[in-house]
Amino acid sequence: MSKLYNPFILADGNKPSCMQMLQLILDGEASSEQQEYFKSHMDKCMPCFKSYSLDMTIKELLKTRCCGDPVPVELIEQIKIQINQNMPS
């Protein structure tokens, strides 16, 4: 397999670790070039492939299970009352 140009390599020449590449992908911080590279890297790197599925699942679960509690109905009203009382313009 031909050696691909690695777009993750830093300006100082250091090559980021698998985990560091994965983190950028997971958090949407990778460029499209880096995403392409990582996709083909996963075909050859089982730990990355496994971690990617697991980390993605956790990220999605966090989003669905830890958000969305209703805001107490009176909170907005209380804030507006406080502003009108304390900060008369």
Binding site: E29, L54, L62
Partner: protein, 196 residues
């Protein structure tokens, strides 16, 4: 984030910014407050304080810029100054160690217990939420900002007043701790072999 020159707004403009740029984030703000304090009444107070501060300092905010990040920063600072002091909770974390590890060659070594995607998907109760809540508040915070709220590293760095490199190392450590916790839950659910 704070270096914006002071703006001058009429009362109508202030109310307009408040209602259309600040208030739409109240749900995320309340969740952030709750996840930091782990108490719904404290969360309400924290959110209320934050919005009052935001209104008081509204002229430091430039209309049309990132209101959500600005509000999150105020809330985080209020939490540190007003709430964390009350509990006198000392930071249990050696951040230099966290960063040194992140930048070392050991970082790819599998230190978290093996955990299966399937066992995670079977967690239909509060396990994920409890695992998040069990983390030290500074680790919890980076996960909330990144995974729950979708902030970019640069925004997180500004909200938390830390360098981007620290955001990344802290996030890495936080996720490993979360996985350890989830792995404990998986074992208690009867997943004996937790290898993927």
């Amino acid at each position: 984030m704070e270096e914006t020159p002071k703006q001058h707004y009429s009362d109508t403009e202030k109310n307009d910014i408040f209602n259309h740029e600040f208030l739409p984030h109240i749900s995320s703000m309340y969740n952030f407050g709750y996840r930091l304090t782990l108490d719904r009444d404290d969360a309400k107070d924290l959110v209320q304080d934050t919005y009052l501060k935001a209104y008081r300092f509204i002229e430091s905010f430039q209309k049309g810029t990132n209101a959500k990040a600005w509000l999150f920063r105020i809330l985080k600072n209020s939490f540190i100054n007003d709430y964390r002091k009350k509990t006198k909770e000392p930071s249990k974390v050696d951040y230099q160690e966290v960063e040194a590890y992140y930048n070392s060659e050991d970082v790819d070594r599998q230190i978290t217990p093996d955990l299966r995607v399937e066992s995670l998907k079977d967690m239909i109760g509060d396990e994920i939420s409890n695992a998040l809540n069990s983390l030290d508040v500074d680790f919890r915070t980076v996960i909330i900002l990144c995974d729950l709220e979708g902030f970019k590293y640069e925004e997180m760095a500004k909200i938390l007043d830390i360098p981007i490199g620290t955001v990344r190392s802290r996030l890495h450590r936080a996720r490993n701790l979360l996985k350890e916790k989830l792995s404990e839950y998986a074992k208690s659910m009867g997943y004996k072999n937790t290898e993927l």
